[in-house]
């Protein structure tokens, strides 16, 4: 048997829209097989993961909480990836954003003013953007591999935040637990509705998605992003500067990751502690690809990924399934998304027998 790719004369528009859904369906099939191997009922497993959380109001609220940072980070990553820059360190930018934004309530915890919250958000964005700018600058200036530098900075950020919440910023009345004092009310991003956990970060995520969609598809800057991403050479002829784009893309994606960080700190945890790093920065990579690097698609993709988190927790409680299964799902999902993307540009031909038989079959078809 031989698998062969045959390039389509034009990318399939129909598959471009449906490939993420196909990937999702394949992930569920793989998931069902995994459940069966683990000795669980596949139908119950899939129901617990993908359906049940949507029916329960509390779970819907939690999905929104988790989807917010995922969507914010993924929008930035989409801009970065489209421009041909690989920012793998969003987790670090998210942490630094949360940390820088938290400096206000931590250092001035009695300051009560409507200025506090906007200032925190701006500082969070700035912190993330500056931290993201480091790998961007190193790539633009020295041609350093941005994948590795951005990733290394995640570990540095984790260690730094860990030091802060265990050391100088630790709440002296916190019974020795790592973490700052809880923020006072003016430093808390309000909930969408009084009984909900989901906060206004979700609104910020949707606004960010709409702005990013507009910029990418309707403005010259968006055109510059795509041109440089597809061919740096072509971009140079058009007068675009790849080095400037690298720094721009890293700043934007770092800034959005930083916003996600401060929104999480101020809206969800309401203090800075040692559990801020939950891997959203890495899961957002999956969200970005599942949304096909389109900011509006990313909204839907973020909700799907959030669903796997919440479904994973539910399956752990009700079925005794390891909570790591959610991460396995996420990894499988990314594989299937990438594989299905191939279908947009290629037809897959599976032929029995050797390569020469396949060639003969093709020659026959052409003649």
């Amino acid at each position: 048997m031989k698998v062969q790719l045959i390039k389509r004369s034009q990318p399939s528009n129909w598959l471009a829209l449906t490939s993420p859904l196909l990937a999702l369906a394949l992930t569920m099939v793989a998931g069902a097989i995994m459940f069966a191997l683990l000795g669980k009922n596949p139908a119950t497993g899939l129901y617990t993961y993908f359906i049940q959380p949507l029916l329960d109001p509390w779970s819907r609220d939690q999905i929104l909480v988790k989807a917010t940072p995922l969507i914010l980070i993924a929008i930035g990553l989409a801009i970065c990836f489209r421009s041909g820059n690989w920012n793998i360190g969003a987790e670090g930018q998210y942490l630094i954003g949360g940390m820088v934004g938290a400096t206000i309530p931590v250092l001035f915890n009695t300051w009560d003013s409507p200025m506090v919250l906007p200032l925190m958000l701006v500082m969070g964005i700035a912190g993330g953007a500056l931290y993201g700018a480091i790998p961007g600058f190193l790539k633009a200036k020295f041609n350093t591999n941005e994948i590795l530098t951005s990733l290394m900075l995640v570990y540095v950020a984790q260690q730094f935040v860990d030091w802060l919440v265990r050391g100088p910023w630790r709440d002296p009345d916190g019974f020795g637990f790592p973490g700052t004092k809880s923020f006072n009310e003016s430093a808390v991003l309000p909930a969408l509705f009084s009984t909900w956990d989901a906060h206004y970060g979700a609104v910020l995520a949707v606004i960010a998605a709409i702005i990013a969609w507009f910029v990418l598809s309707k403005t010259l800057k968006g055109f510059e992003v795509s041109v440089l991403g597809q061919s740096e050479r072509a971009g140079r002829f058009a007068g675009f500067r790849p080095a400037a784009m690298t720094i721009f893309a890293f700043c934007v994606s770092g800034g959005l990751a930083g916003l996600a960080g401060i929104a999480e700190v101020s809206g969800s945890v309401e203090k800075l502690d040692d559990k801020l790093s939950l891997g959203y920065g890495f899961s957002a990579i999956i969200v970005a690809f599942l949304g096909r690097l389109n900011p509006l698609g990313i909204i839907a993709a973020g909700i799907v990924l959030a669903l796997t988190y919440i479904g994973g927790e539910a399956a752990q409680i009700s079925m005794g399934l390891s909570d790591r299964a959610a991460r396995v799902f996420q990894g499988l999902l990314l594989f299937f998304v990438l594989a299905c993307d191939t279908l947009i540009h290629y037809r897959i031909q599976v032929t029995a027998g050797s390569a020469s038989a396949a060639r003969a079959a093709r020659a026959e078809g052409a003649g």
Binding site: V3, L5, K7, W86, I88, L138, F142, N143, T144, N145, I147, L148, T149, L151, M152, L153, Y155, V156, Q159, F160, D162, W163, R166, G167, F282, I285, I286, F289, S322, R324, A325, A326, R327, V328, F329, Q330, G331, L332, L334, F335, L338, A339, D341, T342, Y346, I348, R359, R362
Partner: protein, 306 residues
């Protein structure tokens, strides 16, 4: 003197997994494929080695299982990027995410279980030599394997015809294909070899370095191995320098902590990562060095047109 020897031995232990994983990745990249899944394959190796050794009581069987399973795991990456021509960067990341998730799931039952340590070899007479005895002749088998591996890969890449074919595929896949080389087949072999090496590196972590299973115990070593390949500018001999330099930084920070210096542990723990960034910058600034050795087709997909 005793202290220095024991420090040197621990530097070797820290350097060995980096060296093995980086050597495997070097072969992969020389064939023109960038596999960012080293971290994922390594942790799959670590959990396989630990669980196999725990169940069978035999660490050598554990290491063997790690090689086989991690190699099989890398086949997913090979099929995706070589047969389905998916983006290599994204697919490598997917492999890492999947590896971290799967290893967490498999290893859950083994958290806190007593590990089976791969004991150091003791060569009669030689390992009893003063000073150099334990350093050169009293280490574990994987340590010796790592040196043999570096030498073997150097010999293969630069002294054999097959090695020349592999490098030509990595430098210009279109020409190599036109000359009748099986580009995809050679790349499949390279990726599988890289997976096997990452598996052995993981086995070293969970059988020798910390004979225990801790979730996420690779702690970025797979990524540092990737950085080492850049540092070595794709030359196997230079990997030795890089890996031992990083081993020394890692061990050095423990000893600084033990000296009771007033530096927070977290700052010292970030040193290997910061050192990686600095090294990457220094290497990238020397464009001549990197330009000569970087495989020209690195990271580019290849679809043969017949």
């Amino acid at each position: 003197m005793e202290v220095w020897i024991s420090i040197l031995i621990s530097v070797c232990a820290a350097a060995t997994p980096l060296l093995i994983a980086a050597t495997g990745e070097l072969v992969v990249e020389r064939s023109g494929v960038l596999n960012l899944g080293v971290e994922g394959m390594m942790i799959i190796g670590a959990v396989t080695a630990f669980s196999t050794a725990q169940v069978t009581g035999n660490p050598y069987l554990g290491a063997l299982a790690a090689i086989v399973v991690a190699s099989a795991f890398s086949l997913i990456f090979a099929f995706m990027t070589l047969t389905l021509v998916t983006n290599q960067v994204a697919t490598g990341l997917a492999l890492t995410i999947l590896g971290l998730g799967l290893s967490g799931m498999i290893g859950q039952g083994f958290v806190g279980a007593p590990g089976v340590k791969m004991e150091a070899l003791s060569i009669p007479l030689l390992s009893d030599l003063p000073v150099v005895g334990s350093l050169l002749f009293g280490q574990d088998l994987i340590f010796y394997a790592s040196w043999a591996l570096v030498f073997g890969v150097w010999w293969f890449l630069f002294k054999t015809k097959s090695g020349l074919k592999l490098r030509s595929v990595g430098d210009n896949h279109a020409s190599a294909h036109a000359l009748g080389l099986n580009v995809i087949g050679i790349r499949y072999c390279a990726v599988l070899f890289g997976g096997a090496c990452a598996g052995l590196a993981g086995a070293h972590l969970s059988l020798v370095y910390v004979p225990q299973w801790v979730e996420g115990m690779t702690a970025g070593r797979g990524w540092i191995a990737l950085a080492l390949v850049v540092f070595a500018s794709w030359r196997p001999g230079r990997l030795l320098i890089g890996a031992y330099l990083f081993g020394a930084v890692t061990i050095g920070q423990f000893h600084v902590q033990a000296q009771g210096l007033q530096i927070p542990a977290q700052f010292l723990a970030s040193l290997p990562y910061l050192a990686t960034i600095i090294v990457l910058v220094l290497i990238a600034r020397n464009r001549r060095l990197t330009m000569i050795n970087t495989p020209a087709s690195l990271g580019k997909s290849f679809v043969p047109d017949r």
